[in-house]
Symmetry: C2
Subunit: 372 residues, 2 copies
């Protein structure tokens, strides 16, 4: 595994300090699952946090076992001599509160009731995530983060970090993100939520003791998600109007390759992802609304930010198009914050932030390596 | 009701000739429900056919009773002194085969089995619809259609008419349509279909004898549809990030106005629309593929067309964007067909074809009135 962080192990951070959430609920304690790659330097100033997007987790790079089919979700970006170079940086991946992969969530035991949280697990926000991640970085002995690098919902967490802990963040790389969701973004989330909420096996969120999981709802949510991750052009090039068997079936079986792709993605996701987590992740996206939360315009609010910024967008991303990134850039410039912006020509849509390309990778690498 | 066709009545056309469908099945007889407005002139050459789109029907204009809340779906376009002027033209609206509103469909009795067709009703195509509509126009004594005017899926029927019966069509007005669906279009259709097919109450399409209908699936399909009918800008202007009660609910109840709108539209639709019809309408869209069906490129295929064309698109329509209309125009121009094309500036997305605007209405009116 050349240029790979190699075999990694997930770790557990049990925080026994209480956490007051945006919704008003209080978690008396919580657990975050995380991974680290590279080493924290003596000055404790080379740490890079990578918050995840909607369906991501702490497993950013490497493999758990040699024979694992897949590496972490951003393995092309993180590793020795990669754009986020683990020879230089101490990189942290973390599964968010309410997440799918081991951090305290609906699947956990509520210490008060000794029962599974299920639907009673609170709606967590980007702000809550950042507060919990701060506890983790303190636990890891980090004095100040060298950078936070996040794409999509991860970018929102990066912005929130630079607002809530301005003295703790050196650089922000905010990729394929937005200052908030549009009505269309919320609309897609709502269809996904309704698919899950109305699934007969959802059982109002308390399905853990049943044999059945709300897989139909989850697979619809994921199929819909995939449409918004890909550009129209990519879909046309990759699938077009290709039929799986070159003829019309004249029934409702899988007939087009795009149908086959979506159904496969949906099925795979529904096997492994938690419905309560999905619902909460979409709500965190919807509720990321800095102007409403702080009762200030973005330009006025960004006065607090001390970090330098690199903002990156992709030309064919219609979920979080370049225009949304430019709103962030504008509000940063209004405050004379040191901001670089790049709109990368890419035809792969929102997914481009996860895919390797020279221009993109050089950009990240150069930005991170300009001073250290 | 000034400028209205007034009180109208749906009529029934029972065709006892057999109809061989694209899928190979044969209907020994079929019924089409239709309406007419205006009068057929002595020369029988002033008839305009208006085929409907995905969820439309034969009720194009007027009301059934004075107290009806709503008029027909294109009442702003069709009536005395309206763009499609019923003082001059004899206008025909028809519910398609397999449709929701009375024409032979999954809800009908299969004459062979004496039982409801249900899921055994065949997958019908645009070509089948046109063949059945031709029987209707002959029954009405029409020698040649003055025009066919269709939007969206209706536009596809208009194109098919001009190909299959080139000597029978004088003019085609093809609005907000496309020569075929893109992979993204098919993808949205597939998510809608899966929502219905996987609804526990769908019962493999044979739900008519049950008390329960697959309403959850239908409402999801409709919610998703609505997202694609509206432009991003319209959604932002109309709903934006407005909350129904100005606060975050921190639960999964309706919180944003866009959610309220979509859920309302979904519920309303699920009450009145047939799931088997919805499935079949989306398939007719997917299977509209002239190049595949005729094994010819559009330019070569369009040699057969004798009708004049007006092609209309709307700037913010991302379901069937102007580029798709231009593909039609290009193939017509390749054959020196008399074609006019207009891309109308409209911010309302695909829905613009149903909405009144001066530029749009004048365009249709002028085109229809240039010669008669």
């Amino acid at each position: 595994m050349i240029n790979s962080v190699g075999i990694v192990k997930a770790k557990k951070f049990n925080c026994n300090e209480k956490l007051v959430l945006s919704c008003g609920d209080v978690l008396s304690s919580f657990t975050l699952i995380y991974e680290t790659y590279g080493s924290l330097n003596a000055k404790k100033n080379n740490a890079i946090l990578i918050p995840h997007a909607l369906s991501g987790n702490h497993h950013v790079a490497g493999k758990y076992k040699k024979e694992d089919k897949h590496s972490g979700w951003w393995d092309n970006m993180v590793g020795p001599n990669k754009p986020i170079d683990t020879n230089k940086f101490y990189v942290i991946g973390v599964n968010n509160l309410g997440g799918n992969d081991g951090s305290t969530s609906s699947k956990s035991i509520n210490p008060k009731t000794k029962k599974v949280w299920g639907s009673s697990f609170p709606i967590v926000t980007v702000k809550d995530w950042v507060a919990s991640q701060k506890k983790l970085t303190e636990h890891l002995g980090i004095d100040k983060l060298f950078a936070i690098v996040g794409g999509s919902l991860g970018g929102m967490q990066a912005i929130q970090w630079s607002l809530d802990f301005p003295d703790y963040v050196n650089k922000v790389i905010c990729i394929a993100s937005a200052p908030n969701l549009t009505a269309q973004n919320i609309a897609f989330n709502e269809v996904a939520r309704q698919a899950i909420l109305k699934d007969e096996n959802f059982s109002k969120g308390n399905f853990y003791n049943h044999n059945k999981k709300p897989k139909n709802g989850l697979r619809l949510a994921r199929m819909l998600g995939h449409i918004t991750y890909l550009s129209n052009d990519t879909m046309d090039k990759k699938f077009g109007r290709k039929l799986v068997n070159n003829k019309f079936n004249y029934d409702f079986s899988t007939n087009y390759e795009i149908e086959s792709y979506l159904n496969y993605q949906g099925d795979k996701f529904a096997e492994s992802f938690d419905a309560n987590t999905y619902l909460r992740m979409t709500k965190a996206l919807d509720y990321f609304d800095l102007e409403k939360n702080y009762k200030k315009k973005l330009s006025s609010l960004f006065k607090k930010i001390k970090a330098d910024y690199l903002v990156v967008s992709f030309s064919s991303d219609w979920r979080f198009p370049p225009s949304r990134s430019k709103e962030i850039v504008k509000a940063l410039l209004d405050n004379n914050i040191n901001v670089s912006y790049a709109e990368i020509e890419a035809e792969t849509g929102h997914d481009a932030f996860l895919l390797a390309s020279n221009h993109y990778h050089n950009l990240i690498s150069n930005y991170l390596n300009q001073k250290i």
